[in-house]
Symmetry: C2
């Protein structure tokens, strides 16, 4: 892992200069992180004998692909790696249990309509399979958490998300549902499809260059939060998807693949107020008590603003 | 330099997956390079205990700053590091001498007007100090190289470059000059000023975060090429600039800081066909014989297209 050139005093001094270690001002932690990342990249350039053509080609690629960094990051496993680090930190702090976390992805939109107990997520235009999903939010003792917010978002049957897909209505397949006194939430929607990264985009080109595909299995995203509990970012996968264990974003986790029960009998359909067969998912979320207010909060990242 | 977590089988397998090592297809070299870069970044994240806020903040920063990658790269010394690697490769191949190379920077525009022997570079609107620059292009035996192309570009006295600064005329301070039978080139222009990276831009914010400034000393860029010779990418600096040895792009090199001679006597002014005092720079370029056609060519990188 050593490059003779990078170890020379000339390059060590260059690294000190570019990372601001030879001047006052700035943030000491940032200087150390910049030095480390740049030093690693210099070393990789030297060891792999990366040509100027390759370097500038990559820089141009990143420049063009910047709008897809939110997809390139999960594609390279960064989101999943951050999850594993948080799991490790929890374990080291003696925190166990609760619903497993998994990645947020880049397609959350804040400010979805808030409903009490029940919501219909889809706007009725998507003729996909009807989905009924419900469950309870509880604490680690199995006690209901009333007033928890289940913030849910998912793709349509074409694998597209409202807001990013401008052909959909505002907040289609996006709702916030407040749990009732028994900690229950429920929604009607359509069973989402998986999606692929944009064709010919930089993520697809990057994945293709290493022989990979850019498909995600069908899934439903959740933020679950309640005062006094740790914020949960997670997803469930739709069992049976061909990409279930081959997610380009590496986000599938055991404990997040609930059974899907298909109902075709007239009584069950009537009981739900529906007129077609439907798929049912029963899934409960277990929240962990927060030790600090910060643990209850969603971390910062670039997100789109709420829809005006 | 080791992260226990990154060395676990779980993360090693994740790295294999994200870099496509578990699938066929794709480019084997790219897979190895992607694995190395991602592994180094995971390790840095783990060792510095980088938080999700820091990670996503950096990703958003890079996304917004993508248009400035051409400035961030030299700011972090990558361009200079590539020069040093090419110097080392030359030395290893027994190639010595010739005018030192230095970085191209992101502001070259191809297709500047071609003149024989002499050109005026500026359009007459910039009331800066008049510059007369001339010299000879020779080979390593001191023999003139006739028909060499001296492709020169520089900033105006505000530190701005035509094309990128839309207030300037097309190809202002940009020309290609073909050397005469004695290998001579000459041009009239104005003495350029140094420049700073765009205020409040991502490059300035990055440099500021590590306590650095984004100033370049005044300089003039050159590509010098001729059939049978290695392509030369270089710059000269204007002696006396306060940032001469504190270039944010790390591009100042010994051998590229010619003397500037100021002329105020009427006869010298008349001899140049001028009516004001002027600065004179005499600088010769020494080209090295190419061992292959490829050595005569400018390497690829994202560049703007010629002006229509």
């Amino acid at each position: 892992m050593a490059s003779r050139l990078v170890q020379t005093p000339e390059i060590q001094k260059l690294l000190d200069r570019v990372s601001g270690l030879t001047v006052g001002g700035g943030d000491p932690r940032t200087k150390q992180i910049v030095r480390r990342i740049v030093s690693d990249l210099y070393t990789t350039i030297d060891e792999f004998d990366i040509t100027p053509d390759e370097f500038w080609g990559t820089l141009g690629f990143l420049q063009q692909g910047a709008m897809e960094f939110g997809l390139i990051a999960p594609g390279l496993g960064f989101d999943h790696f951050l999850d594993i680090r948080m799991d490790e930190a929890d374990k080291a702090a003696g925190i166990e249990g609760g619903t497993p976390r998994t990645i947020e992805g880049p397609l959350y939109v804040p400010g979805a309509p808030l409903a009490k107990g029940f919501a219909r997520l889809d706007d009725g235009t998507d003729k996909g399979e009807v989905l009924v999903m419900h469950g309870r939010v509880t604490d680690q003792d199995g006690q209901p958490v009333a007033g928890a917010i289940v913030d849910v978002w998912h793709a349509n049957t074409l694998g597209n998300y409202s807001y990013f897909d401008k052909s959909q209505t505002d907040y289609n397949n996006r709702r916030r549902i407040e749990t009732d006194a028994e900690g229950k939430y429920k929604f009607h929607s359509i069973v989402p499809s998986g999606y692929a990264v944009p064709p010919q985009g930089t993520t697809e080109r990057l994945l293709g260059s290493v022989g990979r595909h850019g498909n995600r299995p069908a899934h439903i995203h959740f933020f679950v939060s309640a005062p006094g509990y740790r914020h949960l970012t997670t997803q469930i996968n739709i069992a049976g998807d061909p990409f279930l264990y081959d997610d380009f974003a590496q986000a599938t986790r055991e404990g997040l693949i609930p059974d899907v029960v298909r109902h075709e009998d007239a009584e069950a359909i009537r009981a739900e107020g529906l007129n077609t067969p439907f798929a049912e998912i029963d899934f409960g979320f277990t929240l962990v008590k927060a030790r600090s207010e910060a643990e209850g909060e969603l971390h910062a990242r670039p997100r789109v603003p709420p829809i005006a």
